[in-house]
């Protein structure tokens, strides 16, 4: 499921961007240079970024401007990274955040 908007009546055709490879919970995913992590995952049909500590509830993008912190994930081993405002980088290892723990699936 790829929900990128390739042509738009106002914004016009989306120019091709350089592809960037990232690892999400152990699987290879293609993102685009300069794109935000949460956006890249959403484009690949992934919109659950973390599960909460107390009630293990799924959470994802809510404000999209780095204020609500519900899009936090473990990025290169560091937890609580707000992925809606953090650009992707080549070879980034991104894991769903389970409470405070990493998903542990990082074998790239």
């Amino acid at each position: 499921m790829n929900n990128r908007i390739n042509n738009h009546p106002i914004l016009g055709k989306r120019e091709e961007k350089e592809k960037v490879e990232i690892i999400f919970d152990g699987n290879k995913i293609t993102a685009e240079k300069g794109e935000m992590i949460a956006a890249a995952l959403y484009a690949n049909g992934i919109r659950i970024n973390r599960y909460t500590i107390k009630y293990n509830e799924p959470r994802g993008i809510f404000c999209a401007i780095g204020q609500c912190t519900d899009c936090s994930m473990v990025v290169n081993g560091i937890p609580n990274v707000r992925t809606c405002i953090t650009p992707v980088e080549k070879g980034m290892v991104i894991e769903t955040q389970y409470g405070l723990k990493r998903s542990g699936k990082t074998n790239d």
């Binding site: 500590i53 560091i78 937890p79 609580n80 405070l100």
Partner: protein
């Protein structure tokens, strides 16, 4: 006509502890708080219940006595306050510190307190994320930590079950005495007048204002402290960890100077680490006389962060999510004032605990309970020494 046996002024940790112990003794008690419970220093501090930073002698005895009360408190109260009794660690950076530390530990062990030196391997095995140039430490077994706000509500709620009346968002406007200079009544901001035999001034850094209402001058000054709150993250340290270097001055090594940036010394910054059950951790501490100003100083925040990274380099990539400041009720000789006021019958002071208010709250509650009711003195500290060391009259200039 509202009549109470005792009216407590100040809804912080000290006020709520006194409310608990007085209502346990069956007294009819009112607690007056100008905002909500724990809205003063008790919600802008850390939860230390320590003997680590106490001088040998009465200073330690008082704190140790309070520590023992905590053990059964956590059973008696129903609302959880995260009581964790895992001991604490002092971190030692230099040979000089090690020598002073050894003298301190030997003295305290002679007095029967269970603590011991930790050599290089022992301290690094205990806290693996420590900076590798830390040469050793002291392990103090009886130390503990709690969640301060939760303890205030826990004590207050049990006291309310015992019949306590809480007047929050109400200020004391005046205290009136009868001809014999005995406490008669208290005028409140909701213009009510409530009659009482005893008034307990537990208003912390605001205690001097309540003192002026009966014409006495209570020498308590606000000493501002700042803290950092870290995001929830994996475990850094298992328990309360404090640096020994800063304490050197307190243990008589006046001319010892730590190798730190001038901003750290100027603001009295000392490394304090406290893990919490909410998975955040707290970093303290600083000391500045800035009156009642609670605004944050950027320099102090930077100094706290720097000093924390010196001991735990792993903090580098961890986020600070909040800074806050609190006002310690400071008394020049570092002992609180827990005492009657001889010139005014029925007027008691329970304030001035500086940085030890949380740890000393239970023993303060018990002492006031003993003064006001005829309950027996069942504390491990000596009654006469307590009365004289914590007396108001000791501070008459």
């Amino acid at each position: 006509m509202k009549k109470y046996d005792a009216v407590i002024i100040g809804g912080g940790i000290i006020g709520s502890s006194i409310a608990y112990y007085l209502t346990e003794a069956g007294l009819k008690v009112a607690l007056i708080e100008k905002k909500d419970l724990a809205s003063g220093t008790s919600s802008s501090c850390d939860g230390n219940v320590l003997i680590a930073d106490k001088q040998p002698g009465f200073d330690t005895e008082l704190a140790y006595c309070s520590q023992q009360i905590f053990d059964n408190l956590s059973e008696e109260l129903n609302r959880d306050f995260d009581y964790t009794q895992r001991g604490s660690i002092y971190l030692i950076e230099s040979k000089e510190e090690w020598e002073t530390a050894e003298k301190f530990v030997n003295k305290q062990r002679e007095n029967g307190y269970s603590m011991r030196m930790m050599d290089y391997d022992r301290v690094h095995e205990d806290e693996p994320l420590l900076a590798d140039d830390i040469i050793g430490g002291i392990e103090i077994d009886s130390d503990a930590s709690i969640y301060p706000m939760a303890l205030v509500y826990s004590l207050a709620e049990k006291a309310i079950k015992n019949g306590l009346h809480v007047y929050n968002y109400t200020e004391v406007v005046d205290i009136s005495l009868n001809k014999g200079k005995r406490v008669k009544s208290v005028r409140l901001s909701n213009s009510e007048k409530i009659y009482c035999d005893n008034v307990i001034n537990a208003a912390g850094v605001w205690a001097p204002l309540i003192g002026k209402m009966v014409g006495i001058n209570i020498p308590i000054k606000p000493r501002q402290g700042q803290m950092l709150v870290a995001e929830k993250t994996f475990q850094i340290g298992k328990r309360k960890i404090v640096e020994f270097g800063y304490m050197m001055a307190k243990f008589g090594e006046k001319d010892y100077s730590r190798k730190v940036h001038e901003v750290i010394d100027k603001n009295g910054i000392a490394f304090v680490f406290e893990p919490t059950q909410a998975n955040n951790f707290l970093i303290g501490s600083s000391r500045r006389f800035v009156g009642y100003d609670t605004r944050l100083s950027l320099d102090v925040m930077r100094g706290l962060a720097a000093r924390a990274m010196r001991f735990f380099p792993v903090l580098k990539d961890i986020n600070v999510i909040r800074g806050y400041s609190g006002l310690r009720p400071y008394v020049a000789d570092h002992f609180p004032i827990v005492s009657a006021v001889d010139s005014i019958k029925g007027y008691y002071i329970a304030a001035g605990h500086e940085g030890d208010g949380i740890g000393l709250a239970p023993v303060t509650g018990k002492i006031i309970q003993n003064f006001i009711t005829d309950s027996s003195w069942d504390l491990s500290i000596d009654k006469d020494e307590t009365i004289s060391k914590l007396s108001f009259s000791r501070l008459r200039d």
